[in-house]
Assembly symmetry: C2
Homo-oligomer: 387 residues x 2
């Protein structure tokens, strides 16, 4: 087990009707709010009205930053920073999913920084302060509601990059699973796969003596694998949605990678896909992760055997690790297909024309991933395995 520091002060307020508390919680953070959201879904569901009423009832004023898109862009962040400065905003509220929260986070540490906020995504500056952030979560996927990281895409060069700091951990996250009951099937499946991938990135480690966190990760992975098909069959079932939503937060709040070195290769490889082709991140992960597993498994077979046995219940003679691992990956692929996701690039019309370019971009600042560090040539091979 590696030495570690674990710190997550986000206050999670989970359950039915909790969104009515948003004004009271925001009032602890400030008085002039930037309200960040995406499109019309929170207006259709009535959540927007509830939030605005709750803010107003507490005497808070707000300015709006709507229009967040999936794979959120730097341009909107810059607009948010400008709005915050113009209106002396002192707290930010994100209402939506990971893209909305990541936009809010980037605005939050962009406001007090005099330079270009993109500096933080290129490791040219360290985040030392940020406006306080509150969240009302509507999509279980990114885990951004209590994580210390965010991902933004710069339009110029289509660079999709991450930044991290404990200053961006939201002060509170209000989570009512009822708002996830209207998510379309594809978005439900993509979100669940992002959650599963967050768990797998942590699970595939070369760190030894991490049995406790292994088991926590397996607990969360089995929850997602069990409940996602059930959510697709019974989209309106609150209890099923609640299991997924809470697992999605815990998957990414850093508890589950305490003492271990996570991989993150598949995320990096996928980010190039969604940056260039604007596909859903979860769908990209469904394609990349199995290919990554096939490419790297020989660098640590026992862990892949453990995954196959404990997560997917593969029950073959232990003397045949190759077979066990192959079956484990196959079951993962079958599961992903069963929830309606693509598992090959060719299914979504992506061919090899940009493989070399994406592989170069993914490894520009060094090899990708920690389980087996991957160079451009390796990444290209993985894209090819995913064709």
């Amino acid at each position: 087990m590696e030495n570690f520091t674990y710190y997550n002060p986000a206050r999670i307020i989970f359950g039915r009707d909790t969104e009515a508390q948003v004004g009271r919680e925001m009032k602890k953070l400030g008085s002039r709010v930037l309200l960040v959201y995406g499109g019309g879904s929170i207006k259709r569901s009535g959540l927007y009205d509830t939030v605005v009423r709750s803010l107003t009832n507490e005497g808070l004023s707000y300015v709006e930053l709507p229009g967040v898109q999936p794979n959120p862009r730097l341009g909107l962040v810059q607009e948010g920073v400008r709005l915050c400065r113009e209106h002396q905003v002192d707290a930010i509220l994100a209402v939506g999913g990971g893209s909305t929260i990541d936009t809010a986070k980037t605005v939050a540490f962009g406001v007090p920084y005099e330079g270009d906020v993109w500096d933080f995504f290129e490791a040219k500056a360290e985040i030392r302060e940020a406006l306080p952030i509150g969240v009302v979560l509507t999509i279980p996927a990114a885990g951004s509601e209590s994580s210390d990281s965010c991902v933004i895409t710069k339009e110029e060069g289509l660079l999709k990059r991450a930044a991290a700091s404990e200053h961006m951990i939201p002060r509170f996250a209000i989570m009512n699973p009822a708002f996830t009951c209207t998510l379309p099937a594809y978005q439900t499946a993509c979100g669940a796969t992002d959650i599963l991938a967050h768990l797998m990135e942590r699970y595939f480690t070369q760190t030894t003596h991490v049995d406790f966190t292994d088991r926590l990760l397996e607990a969360a992975m089995r929850t997602i694998i069990n409940y996602t098909p059930m959510a697709l069959e019974n989209p309106e079932n609150y209890d099923i949605r609640a299991e997924i939503m809470w697992a999605g937060t815990v998957a990414h709040n850093n508890l589950l990678n305490t003492g271990r070195i996570s991989d993150w290769g598949s995320h990096g490889i996928e980010h190039e896909l969604s940056a260039l082709y604007d596909i859903a991140h979860g769908a990209g992960l469904a394609i990349v992760f199995p290919a990554w597993m096939k490419y790297v498994c020989h660098a640590g077979m026992p862990r892949f055997v453990q995954f196959a046995v404990r997560v997917f219940g593969v029950d073959l003679a232990f003397g045949e690790p190759e077979q066990i691992v192959t079956q484990g990956i196959r079951r993962l692929e079958s599961y992903l297909q069963s929830i309606g996701l693509p598992i090959r690039l060719s299914e979504i019309g992506i061919d090899e024309s940009h493989f070399a370019e994406m592989a170069e971009k993914a490894t520009k600042s060094g090899p990708m991933g920690r389980f087996l560090p991957l160079y451009a040539q390796d990444v290209e091979s993985i894209y090819r395995l995913a064709l």
Copy 2:
């Protein structure tokens, strides 16, 4: 799943040599420290010297409150409150296990309170503020290093009672498993059983649709059950101690009971035993918990079946739930015996002479436990089952 709020801002600093950071962390909390500890073990191990040197290097002054005993007493708390006021202490550092931390916590919320600190343990007052607390943990057991609760015994009437508030959550907990390698076998087993009991109190619930937290709890229970015998066989093994230590913290930081109503009957029943007979809390739990299970299992057989199957691997025909549950309890008892703990009161020389009196005290402020609320007569029956 029940609505819930989860909030735990304790900073965990875990691993080898982390104790050297204590001065730097305490400096964030204050400048005049009350140093709380127990007996000579931290002096023998050299930890005391390291801590004092680290505090001094950071320019912090300190006054000492040594002499914390297991089942910590109110008298020492009052002495601590007096010392803090006399020396204008502004932060408290606990170096030790649960008894030391619980003493520190009670001093921390006792100092700013003008009335009798025991008021908080009788629900006559609500904790609204506390001095900030830091912890260097040496015994994995109570989980107090990041929990929001504490247990103190009042000498007069031998009342052992709990208090809770997020104000008492330590700001940081430094945890180096190396310091647990010298714990005697019996203390190792008692600590592990306290951890297991914290998990079981949460596991046995009537709340439905809590599959994710069930699985997290099972992950932690299996970790403790697997690693405790290994720690007894290889007491000096850092990696084994690390699994137990980290599981012990997560077991009690409230994440694992999110969305579910925990029981806590066995803890209440045990507290009367350790208050009256001054036995180790973990040993008392090893005796009480199996008896409690036998008494209440018919109030919710499926959960006891799940425990037997998932935690202890009982593999009998599912049409015989009685048999499965009986085997599950038997395996728990065998496990507890295998790590050297008593499972009957008669083994530690306790007879029925105080059963009625303890049962009355345990249920004085209402029935005990949530899985099946227990009245005095029920509690007495459980003591009898434990004979």
